[in-house]
Symmetry: C2
Subunit: 440 residues, 2 copies
Amino acid sequence: MKLEMICTGEEILAGQIVDTNAAWLGNALLEQGFEMQRRSTVGDRLADLVEVFKERSQHADIILVNGGLGPTADDLSAQAMADAMGVSLQQNQHWLSVLEQWFSSRGTLLSKSNLKQTMLPEGAIMVDNPVGTACGFRVKLNRAWLFFTPGVPSEFKQMVQQQFIPFVEQQAVQKQRVSVTKLLTLGMGESTMAQLLESLQWPEGVTLGYRSYSPYLELKLICRNVSAADQQAALLQAQQLLNDTIVAHNQPCLAAEVHSLLVDSGQTLAIAESLTGGEISSQLVAFAGSSRYLQHAVVSYCNLAKTELLKVSEKTISDYSEVSMACVAQMLTGASAALGSGQMTDYAVATSGIAGPSGGSAENPVGTVVIGVKVASAVYCQKILIAGDRGRAYIRDLSVAVALDMLRRAILKTLVVADYSYIKRLESQQFAVAERSSKL
Amino acid sequence: MKLEMICTGEEILAGQIVDTNAAWLGNALLEQGFEMQRRSTVGDRLADLVEVFKERSQHADIILVNGGLGPTADDLSAQAMADAMGVSLQQNQHWLSVLEQWFSSRGTLLSKSNLKQTMLPEGAIMVDNPVGTACGFRVKLNRAWLFFTPGVPSEFKQMVQQQFIPFVEQQAVQKQRVSVTKLLTLGMGESTMAQLLESLQWPEGVTLGYRSYSPYLELKLICRNVSAADQQAALLQAQQLLNDTIVAHNQPCLAAEVHSLLVDSGQTLAIAESLTGGEISSQLVAFAGSSRYLQHAVVSYCNLAKTELLKVSEKTISDYSEVSMACVAQMLTGASAALGSGQMTDYAVATSGIAGPSGGSAENPVGTVVIGVKVASAVYCQKILIAGDRGRAYIRDLSVAVALDMLRRAILKTLVVADYSYIKRLESQQFAVAERSSKL
């Protein structure tokens, strides 16, 4: 069975908007054991739409069409499909009554532009949309079923899950058993990883996939009709090879992994961010339940904020600068103790550095970053140098990644300061919180 | 001239990665006056690649192919193109010597997997890649030039800008004069906006486009061969209609607008975030130069952080709860004065609310958010209710948007508490910082 997708919309073709619906659909289908063969993206021009519907309907069995069902003049999917079939548009009476109810329950009248959303190609089978004003529909042309869905992501996703995937399952003669295991890694380059992994034998049906989303690299083990034992063997082999670079297993991101470790730990966290400007905090707070461990974060962007809010000593900053191991160690203890009452948080994480493009010096060029973690009575700090030509966003993203990974390692009671192959470490130290000293 | 793009890679087709290169290219071309006609996305299967190259080369004049030039086994673009042309792969001697130098300057040897990157279809014209190990190339098949580019975004972008766009310009017989003006809005729904705008006459050649990226809605005025006077008239007409909902003009996001206003103002900012967890701060710190105005941000996630770090009184929290106008007003003054020495920052912004899915109460259901801004000696606060069923991420995103918009309005000395059509305001107040009272 050949499965395709057609994405419509000038804003997608012209790059005004990134097509997250397409990525989401690919994922959702793969998890159900279906693979797409092709995706075609066209704009809003009627002729282009008609052409792509006619053409792809000769190659595919099922085509999901996304977008162009809205109320505005550039929403032309229904018209184009009618033209491709050589039929006219007809008002769908059921959807008309649904919309009339929807608007009257909100105290407004059905507008002319919304009325357009009740017009479907003659013979189309309406598909319900319980959360929006655009109904879906499906029609048969040549060898294909074309299944039309709205572009609004929440409406699209609900329609795919409740109606499209069941439809595909019903049409599918045989279904593959596909499972995907994801290992998120930090610190190994793609060609190194590929060379390591591809030199080995893998069980039949196992394919390796790489997803690079800077600075992380995700390895996917895609298993098609593979026995549970072989899946397990493949996973073990990958884990042994990637070993210490693995930072999460089947998690969407490292912050999700750290979040769940912190929730499980029942312990508390304080954050002090200079360089990363609140991003570590924001990534954790994205998950419900973060209030169980996060007490506070301080974005100590100017030096006065470091001395006033985090009790970093002015002498430390003048002697060693704010991008120093000594300063970050004090930021950690300061953040950890900031809420007074003699209590310290169980964990703390802190960053300070030069994100650039200006602000670098001979001593601390752009890309110099100090990252530290406090756990129980110990503080771990490292000073690293990230190539300054990678840009401000990369320097911040990589700093957030290393900070979260150090925190993850601290919670797991494993080596906190790890080696990342492409990061140059300038210095690292471990202090006891009371005395503050002892070189690693 | 027909321009198309072919995106390759299982990870893009299957949705493991969102195709940001495609969006970026569409934008970059449009800004140069070129429009793409279609984008086709296929996986890594050799047969699918060969088929799409053969097929699209019969319809387009120039096709940019992205991805599949890497060192790993699933990188098959060169092989597939050779198969489509019925030729074999040949080693490119020039690229071989470039790679040998590249690796020897890094003290390593050229690996077997990188050697694969020197093999191009017979007759291909090599395209230099100054920042990576994958060279590009171009070949002619049927009516089309196929132009191959690497998938790594930084390498891709550089090759497009330095080589692909000049190539397109050289091939183009006539070029449209296209200009795009973007108005970022907050607070008006898409169908309302469309109905308002589409009821008007627009100069010939002006097309309206909408880009919804929650919670913002961007209006694009796309002008093809339109005189400067008509462009100006169209812009004025749009501005008059959208009026107060416009939050930025030709900026990528609201944070960019607020950042540049703050830099220009020469004034200082303090941030206190509870609900939004550091996201306001992080969005501003993303821009170089934020240290010129941002003193600090406090993510006061637990109540003790509010009382200790921001000097919110315990009685305020026990009398009114932490999601109250009184609490946020104290967060603002506390943040503003947090660095001691009697000095307050010029501006402050603060948020507190219930992001859910749990934590709501009868008094403050999920989606209740209080947002405040301090400017000079006045504090403006509003309490809003965001539909809780829109989810945690939406509640946070919309809160960040409203907070940034209130700050923008305060800097521009315009009405700080504005109406957003789809946000329910429960309460709003203006306090003088000294006395703290006086209902709006």
